[in-house]
Amino acid sequence: MAPVPAQPEAPPGATPEPGRVVLDARDIARALTRISHEILERNKGAGDLVLLGIPSRGVPLAERIAERIASVEGYDVPTGSLDVTMYRDDLRLKPARALLHTEIPEEGIDGRTVVLVDDVLFSGRTIRAALDALNDLGRPRAVRLAVLVDRGHRELPIRADFVGKNLPTSLVERVKVTLAGIDDVDAVTIHGEPGAPAGERP
């Protein structure tokens, strides 16, 4: 794998600010492999699993986990995406946002174990929205949560079942995940000087 430059994708209109790399491509790959094994262990195999990534970056993460499970178990776990935009509790605080893609695997979610996959777990509000969205889609046997990074600062009683890395942060810092496919490279970086706005994924 190529060495990882500490050059995250710049937000539009801003000058790229170099962040501190906390996970490089190799670290991310290892973390996803570990999560995949933990999911299998916990679920006692891949049967009845459904992986749902939360767009944007939860989706490629879910797909990578599915690849790893397939290579271990020889079984393709149904994988999809779940947009939570309309279920967000801050919907009314910003102009209407474009919807992201929802794709529920043909098998559906009823009676299955759904693993929600997201890149960063922060306030927990996105996951709350995802649980509500799932509720309108069917009745899973169980719902688990896998995240690449848990940065703390929860505002709701929500925790992850599978965590790539626990990352203590301050509220003024921003955690940025880039993934090849959407972005140039795989990396998790921390940005933020004092006074910068708090994390971008509340």
């Binding site: 947009d83 935009t85 309309m86 279920y87 919907l91 009314r92 605080l93 910003k94 102009p95 209407a96 946002r97 474009a98 919807l99 992201l100 893609h101 929802t102 529920i104 509500d132 309108d136 889609l137 069917g138």
Partner: protein, 316 residues
Amino acid sequence: MKRHLLSAADLSRDDAELVLQTAAELRSLADRPIKKLPALRGRTVVNLFFEDSTRTRISFEAAAKRLSADVINFSAKGSSLSKGESLKDTALTLEAMGADAVVVRHGASGAPHRLAHSGWVRSSVVNAGDGTHEHPTQALLDAFTLSRHLGRGKAGSLDGRRVAIVGDVLHSRVARSNALLLATLGAEVTLVAPPTLLPVGVDTWPVETSYDLDAVIPKADAVMMLRVQRERMNGGFFPTPREYSRRYGLDGRRMATLQEHTIVMHPGPMVRGMEISADVADSDRSVIVEQVTNGVAVRMAVLYLLLGGAQPGGEE
């Protein structure tokens, strides 16, 4: 997006593509067990119809309800033109009810514009068809339908696609909105009509015009037939319905000259045997029923984008 949707001209290409993309996501809702999303919970949408149009009203009603909005249907037939309750008084009533959006159908061109800009109401106004002016959500659903069948690339681009709009352009709000929107989306629109049914100044529109249906349709990727309203038939715009039908109707013979992939559209309600023959309307090329399905998704997208976030012009 602007705060109101009064004309297809209010939509930039980015706006229009956002609506279509949002509609594409929302269309799958119809396949889900619970056909409901919470985005407009607590919002009130009023359907204010001064003209009968059951199909448009139920389409908006379904769209609003699937987004969890409260829907009030206000049928005000017998508008101020016929000395009923005035548009203004109706608007003030709606304002008092706390409407967040007013979906208005009115026989007078510009009535939604008046509603939006006269200070009578604070809500968003969606034009559901005004006089002989515009019907922007119909154009959006037509564009959506076109994009699903003819769109190129992931985004379903209509760039360079040829659309013939045939019939009473002069009195058609559907034609006006489609001409504007489809041109915005990069399609090449040709209006086909007898000269008496093309508006003065159509040469300034972003479209081609033709009097000759047979010359246009073999090159078209889509043919959109417009309804000929009964009251026009005796208005002296053409000699007889039979002659109109012969020169500007889409029948089996003409359908045979279409390209393989060409689709046939109609905003409804159809006058079978007049502008479109029954065998064409019921053929495989016809996407007329699908237009209705798509109408709900497109109207959901419009309502969501107007009302789902912070109210433009409000907090933002």
